[in-house]
Symmetry: C2
Subunit: 193 residues, 2 copies
């Protein structure tokens, strides 16, 4: 197999790229040898070498513990539990949360055979201290909410406050386009003006 | 900027990946360090080093001239002119064409300021010999067809036969869903059964 075929096959394994777009991506890379192909090769080699999961929270970083866990300015009494890194990044982009994180690595799912032992739940239980707040920032899906309830049960009696993200109409959302579940949640959690 | 941000920004410059899917791709890569990230880094480095355009036809390959141009089994009297490499690959996948190629590198476009000197037209004219067939496998777009007509004019009187791909109903195509142009072309080029 030629170098080009190897490259295309590897690119096709990235999420969001199929065989056709992998071919386009390979062409795009080869046409931009100096501005894109070579920097990308170097960035991948560097990432392979330098990036590892944080032993405390599961975030990916080049330092251990990660930048967030070692930041003394961040509130160690608030731990935001997320399913995956993409969620952590999404919250960090808002800049609104100044506590620490805990990356579960997924959600409980009987269907997919994912039990508590497959997630970083024991590490979370070992981390929490009385007086802390545990913010369960899990997806508003069946699996996410099942996991949230499970976690709330497990930490009950450990002296931590447990909260979850508010559910309701998204900013810019039009009621006409929202599903019934969201509308129901938004109505139930209505606030006085 | 961290190694991870650099990687995400470079991935986001691939066609078909936006900022969000670039983040997903980066996570995917880091989770599969040995099976995907390291092989991809190596494949990119190899491609940067080994792959170059064929000086005859413009195909990309690790050998000069390319595998197609140097293959004595392939018919040197048939040259298939394509806009880009993706088209060459698409034709090669069918396995039906056993001649040589010529990659134009685009199409004439007054709107985008692309003239004959921006395409590999002079190199094509230098290549052709009397008795050859020139198959204009250009896209059935305005630009593709303009370019085809321009090429046909330029090679007139050089003793080469010029042909183009048939236009009509695609295999599996339903008439109800086809545009008027395709239907018109299919009707005009109808064949006796």
């Amino acid at each position: 197999m030629s170098e080009l075929d190897t490259l295309i096959q590897l690119l096709a394994r990235l999420p969001g790229l199929g065989p056709r777009s992998a071919r386009r991506a390979a062409l795009h890379l080869i046409k931009r040898r100096e501005s894109l192909l070579e920097p990308l090769a170097a960035a991948l080699a560097k990432a392979a070498h330098a990036i590892r999961p944080c032993p405390i929270c599961g975030n990916l970083d080049t330092v251990e513990p990660c930048t967030i866990c070692r930041d003394p300015e961040r509130d160690a009494t608030a731990i935001c539990v997320v399913e995956g890194l993409a969620d952590l990044w999404a919250l960090e982009r808002t800049g609104i949360f100044r506590g620490r994180y805990h990356v579960l690595g997924g959600t409980l799912s009987a269907l997919d055979g994912i039990g508590p032992e497959d997630l970083s739940i024991e590490r979370l239980l070992a981390r929490i201290r009385p007086g802390q707040e545990l913010i369960l920032a899990l997806n508003a899906t069946v699996e996410g909410q099942t996991t949230a309830h499970y976690l709330a049960d497990r930490v009950a009696g450990r002296g931590v406050r447990v909260s979850r993200l508010a559910q309701g109409v998204p900013i810019g959302g039009e009621l006409d386009y929202l599903d019934d579940g969201t509308l129901t949640a938004a109505l139930k959690s209505r606030r006085a003006l």
